[in-house]
């Protein structure tokens, strides 16, 4: 199982890379680590090995830094992220590019589309009877998009029990809170109303993520969604639950302070 120390190492890599790269979408990168790390640990190098393997689609493309750092840590990727991230000539763009990094599978960045791509894969695997599952991470802000709810219908109508969507429900969007912009939409109830099997968990709890993914393997005949209640900037105090870190790049001093806070939290 993924450890607290693993999370520390990945999040330190994220903060270092954002500081040196001058860009980060830090709040979302830090909130999603436990989710991506758990999937990496459960599937190892078979995750995103090719289009026929168990697949993880990052629909919220602005979470690329969290994806890179976690994939690097689990040896699914290679590279010097702090010195390459967000550089013009680098493969580590601030949204994932499948032509530069085949392991990211899908070039996302425009919200509300990766979930449809994931559903298409799940449907195709039903046709050809391929058993590997498809996982898709979407943001709660991304759920503003109507196309997410188109797929909410399609996945139920086609019994896509090989599709698991995980919503990174950190309640922060670009400039405002998800709860404010949606009138306190309850995502679990919303997905359930479409016919999904939905579970709400602490999305920064490694144990809860792992346990839920194991339980989900037994759920048949309907798509599944985890509403992962996360906290943006989780593990730090400096960047905790503050919308400014969607865009802000840390100074060296802020980086040092945040890493100290990570140490205190995880080690």
């Amino acid at each position: 199982m993924v450890t607290e120390k693993d999370c520390f190492n990945i999040k330190k890599l994220i903060i270092d890379s954002a500081t040196l790269g001058g860009e980060g979408h830090l709040s979302t990168a830090l909130s999603e680590v436990e989710i991506i790390a758990t999937l990496c640990q459960r599937h190892g190098v078979e995750l995103n090995r090719d289009f026929e393997s168990t697949l993880f689609i990052l629909s919220k493309g602005h979470g690329a830094l969290g994806l890179y750092a976690t994939f690097l840590y689990f040896n699914l990727l290679r590279g010097d992220l702090p010195n390459e991230y967000n550089r013009v000539e680098s493969k580590f763009k601030n949204h994932p590019n499948p032509h530069l990094i085949p392991q990211v599978i899908y070039g996302s960045g425009s919200l509300g589309n990766g979930i449809g791509f994931a559903a298409g894969i799940a449907k195709a695997r039903k046709i050809c009877k391929r058993v590997q599952d498809v996982y898709c991470l979407v943001g709660d802000g991304e759920c503003n998009e109507g196309s997410v709810w188109e797929i909410a219908q399609f996945a139920v109508a086609n019994n896509l029990d090989n599709l698991t969507v995980i919503v990174d429900n950190n309640n922060l969007q670009c400039v405002d809170r998800h709860s404010v912009l949606t009138g306190n939409l309850n995502l679990k109830v919303a997905f359930e109303s479409f016919g999904w099997h939905a579970t709400e968990i602490n999305g920064n709890s490694l144990h809860e993520i792992n346990t839920t993914l194991s339980l989900f393997k037994k759920i048949k005949n309907k798509p599944k969604v985890i509403i992962a209640k996360t906290i943006s900037g989780f593990g730090t105090k400096t960047m905790l639950d503050d919308v400014v870190w969607h865009y802000k790049t840390p100074t060296i001093e802020e980086r040092d302070q945040a890493v100290k806070e990570l140490e205190n939290h995880y080690l």
Binding site: G107, F117, G120, C128, S147
Partner: protein
């Protein structure tokens, strides 16, 4: 034309890749045969054009070749970003079928017209662009598309489109068809896709009386446009007839090639306006918003 599409899908359903047909809840009664033969490979996703294309992309990634069917205006406009994202950026091949293209749904109003579909699809790198002129052309167009690895957009009509007259000279590779050639005329009509059939209307008399040659093209792809460009250099006046706005269609492509030449290139097509009535009344042989009076004047005028 839709019947020919279904026959073509049945013909190519397993070669060279397994086709998966996706529809946005359209094509009533059109695909029954394909559905019966391939129940797992017929998917009605419902009325969700954005997701129609995203789902097709996922299916494409698993080794199938998706054929995506919807009304042309909805497919190309509403799903434009998804087509750019999946076919352009993520390089996932699919065949997009835009039904009822141009002014086919003339009486339904601007929501159902697609006079900008080729302009939009032409911005997607690698997208092959086809507009079959007759039902029998659909099969040969599919054959050309399947030889490539890039996505394609095909605008089709609906039912009942005629075949070319028997004397027409068809070139399947370039998609060019000589419908009428006198070799002595200085005037040429170039029709795009099924718009050649508009000449069944009152216009045909004027063009015949003025000895206009007539050639038709069923695509906007590089080699064919190049060949057509060579042909039109032999004429002083060229009339481009297309159900498309003036940018991004056949007219603009030929204008670019011939911008420094003396030939007059005159476009006959819908006006650039969503609010003005645009109708081709096949029953009564009249058109509105298609510049009929101007055509008569132009045809009768000297070069």
């Amino acid at each position: 034309m839709r019947r020919a599409l279904c026959e073509t899908l049945n013909y190519f359903c397993n070669e060279p890749r397994d086709l998966v047909l996706l529809t946005g809840d359209l094509g009533f009664g059109t695909f029954e045969e394909f559905k019966l033969a391939n129940p797992n490979r017929y998917i009605n996703v419902g009325i969700m054009e954005q997701s129609l294309v995203n789902i097709a992309a996922g299916i494409s990634s698993q080794g199938y070749l998706p054929v995506v069917y919807s009304i042309a205006s909805f497919l190309t406009s509403r799903s434009y970003e998804q087509i750019k994202l999946n076919c352009g950026y993520n390089d996932l091949q699919m065949i997009l079928i835009g039904a009822g293209g141009g002014l086919t749904y003339e009486k339904s109003g601007a929501t159902h017209h697609s006079n900008e579909d080729f302009a939009l699809m032409g911005t997607i790198p690698g997208m092959q662009l086809f507009c079959p002129s007759t039902p029998s052309q659909i099969k040969s167009i599919f054959g050309l598309i399947l030889n490539n690895r890039t996505s394609a957009y095909i605008r089709i009509g609906k039912y009942g489109e005629p075949e070319f007259p028997n004397h027409s000279k068809v070139n399947k590779d370039t998609g060019l068809t000589e419908i009428r050639g006198t070799s002595a005329s200085s005037k040429l009509i170039v029709s795009f896709g099924k718009s050649w059939n508009i000449f069944d209307l009152e216009l045909s008399g004027y063009f015949l009386e003025n000895s206009c040659d007539h050639i038709n093209i069923n695509n906007l792809n590089g080699d064919s446009i190049e060949k057509l460009s060579e042909i039109i250099t032999n004429y002083g006046t060229i009339f481009i007839l297309e159900e498309h706005f003036e940018f991004g269609g056949l007219y603009e492509k030929l204008r670019k090639v011939h911008q420094n030449r003396e030939s007059r290139i005159i476009r006959i097509g819908p006006s650039f306006n969503y609010q003005k009535l645009q109708v081709i009344d096949h029953k009564n042989g009249k058109s509105l918003g298609f510049g009929v009076k101007t055509i008569k004047e132009l045809v009768e005028s000297p070069n």
